[in-house]
Amino acid sequence: MTEAVLSVRGLTRSFGDHRVLADLDLDVPAGRAAVLVGPNGAGKSTALRCITGVDEADAGTVTVLGEALDERSATIRAALAVVMDDLDFFPDLTVVEHLDLFARAHRTDDADDVVDDVLEEVGLTAQSGQLPTSLSSGQRRRLALASAFVRPRRLLVLDEPEQRLDQEGLEWLVTRLRAEKEAGLAILLASHSPRLVDAVADDVVRLAGVGGP
């Protein structure tokens, strides 16, 4: 079997007496997608937060490209593209300026072309001069997702990426994630969308919520 880009062992997280995650094991090799599913409060977002280093797990290990997770590591930051629900945009930069900034910050080759392609793909070309406050919530979600696609990446982590997307947007996301897999990327996402899970998931991890100490 191909070596896992992301490997999680024994991930455990509690809030006070309430245990949210218990001994989560997970491997995501290159070119495959793992999807966390489960009801609200099952621990999907908590798992993603611990896996990406936003939150600290009580126990367990996370390795990315064979390196223990340290979100300060330049290698990991360069490989790991994360889109959660906490992305807040610069209020005074336009849509295209955001993507241009992310692409240049990551030294993306042919940044202009990549940004133009992604803008067209997510359907925001007409909004390229708009400031984020004037976008609809669905358009802001598309911009957040687009931010992950203008930069180099080996592992894509998305928290409920289907949120606020219309049907057309969801189909675009399915197509895009399949293309990402074909390009050899490892994908980990949490989702409530049966369409997304059916179309993209190679491995489905069901979280039911642990509860109790």
Partner: protein
């Protein structure tokens, strides 16, 4: 079937009264501590102002100082008017709550009758806000009571007239209405006053007894203008569209909520979001360097997009020169730090977003510290230049070598930057932590401190220069500033 707006208001009043659990008298009884506190603090403030005025009478005897002192109320009122008119323009000035915008404005009632009370209230509120500021400044300047009353009435009238003119601009919906220039014109007048002090031109603005009659006529004229503005607003408010009055109504609760927790940085966020939402679309600028320099380059783009901020920063150089001209001596350093602190905040929008959004920090390939530091480079360069350009002002009042003056100027700019970074990166009051018990209920430990955030660092970084206004003091201050900036940029 149509409904009279009076009937609607009566229904609303009835609905509110039927659900209230306290009368106004009972609410005041509950708030007696607050009422007493306001009365006590107000009387203390008046006492302090009168005492300071007496001190000024004794200490400020030189011609230059006396001339500057006579200009003080004009500068204070000019600044207050500029701030007030800018805020009024941002809010509306006529604004309605989301409830009124959603339920009452679409109703088939006389919109003018719904809105004219708000227009009138806003105009009179402007007068009520500026009057105490004007009276306080006039007291400090040592104005006699009749002159003080005249000055206060004039300033209040001017504030009300300006807001009335802005109501007119709002009703006609013109983007180039002359009333929209009131704020900038007021700032230019303040700059002219500062320049007069800085270059030791001594204008005689202390109203003598002969000037009182024309001054009284002027004040009466201004108030006649206020009456005309109110009458005109009464007629024109019916023309206001929902989109003219609804955004301000969303802004006010946002600002109120932030103010309730003394989270001033959140107020800044609300104002920036409101301003950008109104602007909506701008011409995008692409390209620039790669790596973290791309983040710094965006600050350069911001400068090109908002040249007004740069003009204001450049104009503020007059302040240290004016203070030096009236013999401010080493106080010039503190003033320079404070000026830099206050004016750098609008340049730190990127740092603010990188502070409040961990998601945005994750979008960059570098750790937190260097990423945030990249957002401080351009403001830092601007303030270093500001500090260096203020050095000749120090030279007018301090006996120091050119090298020392340059170091003091640069350290002052850095001190202002450190204070600005502290203000922008401050944590909001945390209601999740143990609260301190007060008569007003439980409050977070950092609630009151948040009002002083930034000023603490401004004083801390200025202190070494105040104690030793030499190159050594400047180096210590500079090191302190760099340490504070490095710590705050790297803090999670």
């Amino acid at each position: 079937m149509t409904t009279e707006s009076r009937e609607l208001w009566a229904d609303i009043r009835h609905w509110r009264r039927s659900r209230r659990t306290l009368s106004v008298g009972e609410a005041l009884q509950d708030l007696y501590i607050g009422v007493f506190a306001v009365l006590m603090l107000g009387s203390m403030l008046i006492s302090v102002l009168v005492n300071l005025s007496d001190v000024g009478d004794r200490a400020c005897v030189a011609a230059e100082c006396a001339a500057a002192r006579s200009l003080l109320p004009w500068l204070v009122v000019g600044t207050a008017l500029a701030v007030l008119w800018s805020l009024a323009r941002m809010v509306g000035p006529v604004a309605v709550s989301p409830g009124v915008a959603g339920w009452l404005l679409p109703a088939p009632v006389d919109r003018g009758e719904l809105l004219r009370g708000r227009a009138r209230g806003t105009v009179l509120l402007a007068a009520a806000l500026v009057a105490p500021v004007a009276a306080g400044a006039a007291t400090l300047a040592g104005f006699e009571v009749p002159v003080l009353a005249l000055f206060t009435a004039g300033a209040a009238g001017l504030a009300a007239y300006g807001v009335g003119a802005l109501v007119h601009a709002q009703t006609v919906g013109r983007r180039r209405h002359p009333a929209l220039l009131l704020g900038p014109v007021s700032l230019v007048a303040v700059a002219a006053g500062l320049a007069a002090i800085a270059f030791s031109v001594e204008p005689a603005l202390s109203a003598g007894s002969r000037a009182r009659v024309p001054a009284l006529a002027g004040v009466l004229l201004v108030w006649a203008g206020v009456v005309v503005a109110l009458v005109r607003a009464r007629i024109l408010t019916a023309r206001l569209r929902r989109r003219d009055v609804a955004p301000g109504g969303v802004l006010v609760p946002g600002l109120g909520g932030a103010l309730a927790t003394l989270d001033l940085a959140l107020m800044f966020d609300v104002l920036v979001a409101h301003a950008t939402a109104r602007r909506g679309v701008v011409r995008p600028r692409r390209g620039g360097p790669r790596g973290l320099a791309a983040l710094t380059w965006r600050d350069v783009i911001r400068l090109r997009r908002h040249p007004g901020r740069l003009v204001l920063l450049a104009g503020s150089l007059l302040v240290p020169y004016a203070v030096a001209a009236v013999g401010g001596r080493v106080v010039v350093v503190l003033v320079e730090v404070l000026v830099c602190f206050v004016l750098v905040v609008p340049f730190l929008v990127a740092l603010r977003v990188l502070t409040r959004s961990s998601g945005m920090v994750r979008m960059f390939p570098t750790p937190l510290g260097p990423t945030r530091a990249a957002a401080v480079v351009v403001p830092g360069v601007l303030l270093l230049a500001h500090g260096l350009l203020s050095a000749p002002a120090l030279g007018r009042t301090l006996d120091a070598t050119v090298g020392d003056l340059a170091l003091l100027g640069a350290a002052s700019g850095l001190g202002g930057l450190a204070a600005g970074v502290r203000w922008v990166t401050g944590r909001p009051p945390d209601y999740g932590r143990p609260l301190v018990s007060t008569p007003a209920g439980g409050v977070p430990t950092n609630l009151y401190g948040s009002a002083l955030r930034g000023f603490d660092i401004a004083v801390l970084t200025a202190l070494p220069m105040l104690l030793a206004p030499t190159g050594g003091g400047a180096v210590v201050s500079g090191l302190l500033s760099v340490g504070v900036i490095a710590y705050l940029c790297g803090r999670r």
